[in-house]
């Protein structure tokens, strides 16, 4: 996987959901480079180029992070918090995709800087439609931030 030209970081612990999401994204030809992190810690290591991902550079952030909230080790809300509070990562669009429709999760997510909040529909057809719309919007329609423009803001790594 060429992490240098990464389109989507999918943070999802359920293999079933990963498969269904990847199936949809590939079928719609929305993303070629997708990295899947299976828990919060892996997602943070990936985004902050550490641990197993020290070879990665902040110069090539993913174009989109699809983040589940209920995750092993570090939960999605914590991941969101760290990403959005660090100048090197805060410009990365993060879309919460979760089964939860709890208001407190919704409010907390937006409060922490989530770019979007989507409840995964039970119906697969609707799910596919949702994923397609999200991918289309963030990868095709939306103008992503120019990474270099923000690099000078980056201070030393927090953690």
């Amino acid at each position: 996987m060429n992490s240098d030209a990464l389109d989507i970081l999918l943070v999802e612990d359920s293999q079933d959901d990963v498969d269904l999401a990847l199936h949809t994204l590939r079928r719609e030809k929305l993303a070629n480079n997708i990295f899947v992190a299976r828990d919060g810690e892996e997602a943070l290591d990936f985004l902050f180029c550490r641990g197993a991902f020290t070879h990665r550079s902040f110069d090539h952030p993913p174009k989109l992070v699809l983040l589940d909230l209920k995750l092993p080790k570090v939960d999605g809300m914590e991941v969101l918090k760290q990403v959005k509070s660090d100048p090197r990562t805060k410009t990365i669009p993060v879309v919460i995709m979760t089964s939860s429709k709890e208001e407190r999760d919704l409010v907390a997510s937006y409060h922490l800087g989530a770019n979007s909040y989507i409840q995964k529909p039970v119906d697969f057809e609707q799910f596919r439609e949702t994923v397609k719309t999200v991918g289309l919007y963030w990868l095709v329609i939306n103008q992503p931030p120019i990474v270099e423009s923000f690099q000078h803001l980056a201070g030393p790594a927090h953690d």
């Binding site: 079933d16 269904l20 209920k70 429709k101 709890e102």
Partner: protein, 716 residues
């Protein structure tokens, strides 16, 4: 003489003075007329050889006028008074002048012709030795004297108005002498006065004295003193005696050739005068002693009055004392009564400033179980229960020592060691120096109340503890429930999605290899998962309602209904549905929740009118008990009223799933929202005719909707 004149006498004498003046005028005028008309009797009055001469008659008139004009008592204007006075004084001066001139004629033998001014007296009428018309010397003298008296009538010397009155007295003596002369000496001579003249002189002299009856001799006559009274009673008799004595003395003297009639007359007059002076002197002495008496009497009276007033004062003081004694007694009695009443109710004690007990009442002894002897002289600490802190008593002593009343509840120990509570009021009483010298404590036994309070407090504590425990339990349960519903929300949906997803993929990717039955099965799987998804969502919704706090705001319901209709539009596509939406009021409610009420009721109505060729759905409201009742009615398949109780239960359905899809949660949700608003909801229906759902939003009318809620509770 003091001025205590008898006013009635003064009045009478004043009348006499006026009468005398009038008499003189009349006598003078008649005499003049006698001359003019030759009526001799008017000039002599009796068969006497001596006539009153014309100018004497005129002088009498002037004297009368002068006296008349100077009489007292008339109140007249100032100018008229002046004129009167001037006229009177002029007349007096004229008389004086005539008298003086006549005397001069006698003494010097002049003829001044004044005798012939009015009437010329024929020489035949002349008296021996005297020119015709010339008045007698005594008359001339009398005129001079009386004129002067009238001129000086109101002149007061250092002591009194003596001059005029003495002159009058002299004139009176002159008149008397004239009378004597007339009687004793029938042969007229130069000093013989005519009868009218003598009488008129006397009358005028008396009148003059009487005209000023409160002064000098007049005052002596009219005084109310004993001397004056004596003089008044003696005078007539004295005069009579005097006259007789004078007469007899004169007669007897005249028989003796040694005395001329003049000498005899003068002697008689001298005797009379001496007698009169003697009388007057006696009067004076009597008067003085009377005055002394009067002074004494006055003093006695004064003293008596003073004593009387003293006695009156003392009597009054005594009465006041009696009254105040009675008041004090009444007050004491009242005080005793109040003390008795107080003793019936309260525990009373008195202590000195050191806290040593100086007095206790029965109740005190009864509650403390000490005898009075055991308590008096003891410090209050004998009762200390040890319940209160040192600071408590310090604060109490500080309060009362500073002169303020202390009020509080104290726990005391009785003699047998048992405890009792009192509600105490301690009142400090200050001495003259302003510092308290004793404290009176009034207490009420509140032991029972304290026990009751203690029981209540314990009960309260227990209750609070139980409430706390129960709250903690509830909070834990709530927390658990939240965790549960969160898990349900998250974990229950994921597998459904997977079933739905992979079965879909199965159809899509291997659909061509599946036989139609297998494909149908997959479709059933899909439908099942969808149904399950909706179920989970709605259950979560219902659960969430319990935690939802109402956010009330005034909301127009018509806009809300219109919004719902737009959402439901796809469901009614291809159907003929008539919406009858009435004007709905704006109400205080949570719009998010009330929107759900309308969504559930309207989608139900739409669903159950599906079999109708023409569905009619009506939204309206009416007023009931002052609050709006909202109604959603349809002409759908309705329901049997015997199942009305099941209508709002969770998972309760009255129709088969294949006829009408649904979860059986929608109406339960509606009911929960309505109840959350304090309102009630109920339904009416008839199978195959239609159904009507009613609800109220009793926000702000909790009290009212409470009773309604009970009724609704029975029905729902």
């Amino acid at each position: 003489m003091n001025g205590r004149s008898d006013p009635r006498l003064v009045q009478r004498l004043s009348v006499f003075a006026s009468t005398a003046a009038g008499f003189a005028v009349v006598a003078g005028l008649s005499a003049l007329a006698g001359w003019k008309l030759h009526i001799a009797v008017l000039d002599t009055w009796v068969a006497a050889p001596v006539k009153i001469v014309p100018n004497a008659a005129a002088c009498l008139v002037l004297l009368g006028v002068s006296l008349w004009l100077q009489r007292k008592g008339d109140r007249q204007s100032f100018v008229w008074m002046r004129i009167r006075k001037l006229t009177a004084k002029t007349s007096a001066v004229m008389v004086c002048l005539v008298g003086l001139l006549s005397l001069a004629e006698h003494v010097f033998g002049w003829d001044l012709r004044i005798d012939r001014l009015l009437v010329v007296v024929p020489p035949a009428e002349a008296i021996v030795g005297v020119r015709a018309g010339l008045m007698a010397t005594i008359a001339a003298l009398n005129f001079l004297v009386l004129g002067a008296a009238l001129l000086l009538l109101d002149w007061k010397t250092r002591h009194d108005h003596w001059p005029a009155q003495f002159l009058s007295f002299g004139a009176a003596i002159g008149a008397i002498f004239g009378l004597f002369a007339l009687v004793l000496q029938p042969r007229a001579s130069g000093i013989t006065m005519a009868l009218p003249a003598a009488v008129t002189f006397f009358v005028l002299a008396c009148g003059l004295v009487c005209s000023r009856a409160t002064w000098a001799i007049g005052g002596l006559l009219t005084s109310q003193n004993a001397g004056a009274r004596l003089l008044r009673s003696v005078i007539p008799a004295a005069l009579l005696v005097l006259g007789l004595i004078g007469w007899s003395v004169s007669k007897s003297l005249l028989t003796d050739a040694h005395f001329t009639w003049v000498q005899a007359s003068l002697l008689a007059i001298l005797c009379g005068t001496i007698l009169f002076a003697f009388l007057t002197w006696i009067a004076f002495i009597v008067d003085r002693s009377d005055a002394l008496n009067a002074e004494l009497e006055r003093r006695v009276a004064e003293r008596t009055a003073a004593l009387q007033s003293e006695v009156t004062k003392r009597t009054l003081a005594q009465e006041a004392l009696k009254e105040s004694l009675a008041t004090s007694e009444a007050a004491l009695k009242e005080l005793a009564d109040q003390k008795f009443a107080l003793d019936q109710h309260a525990i009373v004690a008195t202590t000195d400033v050191q806290g040593t007990i100086t007095y206790v009442n029965e109740k005190f002894c009864a509650i403390s179980q000490y005898s009075r002897e055991e308590l008096i002289g003891q410090n209050h600490r004998i009762l200390n229960s040890g319940h209160h802190s040192k600071e408590f008593f310090q604060q109490m002593y500080q309060t009362i020592a500073s002169g303020q009343v202390w009020h509080g509840e104290i726990k005391n120990r009785a003699k047998d060691g048992s405890m009792y509570w009192v509600d105490a009021t301690i009142v400090p009483f200050a001495g003259a120096d302003g510092k308290p010298w004793q404290y009176v404590a009034i207490r009420t036994d509140i032991t029972e109340r304290k026990l009751a309070e203690e029981v209540i407090r314990q009960l309260n504590d227990e209750l609070e503890q139980r409430v706390g425990e129960r709250t903690a339990q509830l909070e834990a349960a709530n927390k658990e429930l939240e965790t549960f519903s969160y898990s349900v929300s998250h974990d229950l949906r994921a597998p459904l999605r997977h079933v739905s997803g992979f079965s879909q993929l199965l159809v899509e990717e291997f659909g061509s290899n599946l036989d139609p039955t297998a494909q149908k099965y997959v479709e059933r799987i899909q439908a099942g998962t969808q149904q399950m998804g909706v179920l989970v969502d709605e259950l979560l919704n219902l659960a969430r309602l319990g935690r939802h706090t109402l956010r009330l705001q005034r909301t127009g319901l018509n806009a809300m209904v219109a919004e719902m209709l737009a959402i439901l539009q796809p469901e009614s596509a291809g159907r003929q549905v008539e919406w009858v939406i009435a004007d709905l009021p704006a109400v205080e409610c949570d719009p998010v929740l009330v929107k759900q009420i309308f969504q559930n009721l309207l989608s139900n109505a739409l669903k159950f009118t599906r079999s109708r060729a023409r569905g009619v759905i009506e939204v309206s409201h009416k007023e009931e008990d002052g609050q709006p009742v909202f109604m959603v009615r349809d002409n759908g398949i309705g329901f049997s009223m015997k199942y009305v109780d099941k209508l709002f239960g969770v998972f309760q359905r009255l129709h088969r799933a294949e006829d009408f899809e649904g979860t059986g949660i929608g109406l339960a949700t509606v009911q929960r929202i309505v109840h959350k608003h304090g309102g009630r909801v109920w339904a009416e229906g008839e199978l195959d005719k239609g159904a009507a759902f009613y609800f109220t939003l009793g926000v702000g009318k909790q009290a009212k909707s409470k009773s309604n809620g009970v009724a609704a509770g029975g029905r729902l």
